[in-house]
């Protein structure tokens, strides 16, 4: 139907890795540089949109199952992080300034930005990144994989 030429397919293969790295960089550095879970998740979703367009005929059936499970896992991880803070209050940042995982204390003022800071926020960024990535690719898949519903 849409004869996607070989060049497009090869370029698509090449592009997968840089876009993935850039997307996860934006997600993981949400607390240091602009961006975060939402922007990074959207970047990764463009990856899926590109793959759907180029390899549309090779899909035997619509792979939305994997994305709906991934979406639920992302959201459950996010709300469980909020529940873990219940020792003091619902959305409490229980990892900050404890020198554990992401616990390095940060003082007021300009600093070059250390990755191991900001307690729960990087974990929440990852959870939201997974959720946004799978929600957007689910929507892209649903809108693009035409089912050919009967026309009245």
């Amino acid at each position: 139907m849409n004869d996607v030429s070989l060049i497009v397919k090869v370029v698509a293969y090449i592009l997968i890795v840089p876009v993935f790295i850039f997307g996860s960089y934006v997600i993981l550095h949400g607390h240091l540089s602009p961006g975060g879970g939402f922007a990074g998740g959207a970047i990764l979703a463009t990856l899926v949109a590109m793959l759907v367009i180029t390899f549309r005929d090779d899909f035997k059936e619509n792979p939305h199952e994997i994305f709906s499970i991934l979406e639920c896992i992302g959201m459950i991880f996010f709300i469980l992080l909020a529940f873990f803070g219940l020792s003091s209050s619902f959305f409490h940042n229980f990892l900050v300034n404890l020198n554990g995982l992401f616990g390095k204390p940060v003082h007021f003022g300009v600093n070059p930005g250390y990755l191991n800071t900001a307690g729960v926020i990087p974990l929440m960024n990852m959870a939201v990144g997974i959720e946004v990535f799978s929600a957007l690719s689910l929507i892209v898949l649903m809108l693009s994989m035409r089912y050919g519903g009967e026309r009245k």
Binding site: G109, V110, P112
Partner: protein, 115 residues
């Protein structure tokens, strides 16, 4: 003198509402709602600006005088909400085209028929 930012917001909102009022095509209605929501995002961001300040990110920041962070957080939330609304509306538009063959609202069956 009137601030050019708030004037642009007002013009964009009225453009968005006029597309909603006058257009019959579904995709144009979705575009109208998108215009209104982007103009409200512009309004939120322009409320948060402080003269001579930089973005509120302390990594290698040129100065410590910073812009207000809350409007940016509100705009972040609003952008994702409008993404969700547009996604749902466009998928409804796909199905409406599927059943009625046209995207214009003239052929809708749910008009108030008291027959």
């Amino acid at each position: 003198m009137i601030d050019i930012q708030f004037l642009t917001v007002v013009i964009l909102i009225s453009v968005g509402i006029s597309t909603l009022v006058f257009k019959k095509n579904i995709i144009k209605i979705v575009m109208g709602i998108e215009i209104i929501s982007s103009s409200i995002n512009l309004f939120l961001i322009s409320l948060g600006y402080r003269e001579g300040s930089v973005a509120p990110i302390f990594t290698n920041a040129p100065s410590v005088k910073m812009v207000l962070p809350t409007p940016q957080a509100l705009t972040l939330t609003n952008i994702v909400i409008d993404l969700a609304i547009t996604a749902l509306m466009l998928s409804l538009a796909v199905l409406i085209y599927n059943y009625y063959g046209t995207l214009s609202m003239k052929k809708w069956r749910l008009v108030e028929r008291c027959s």
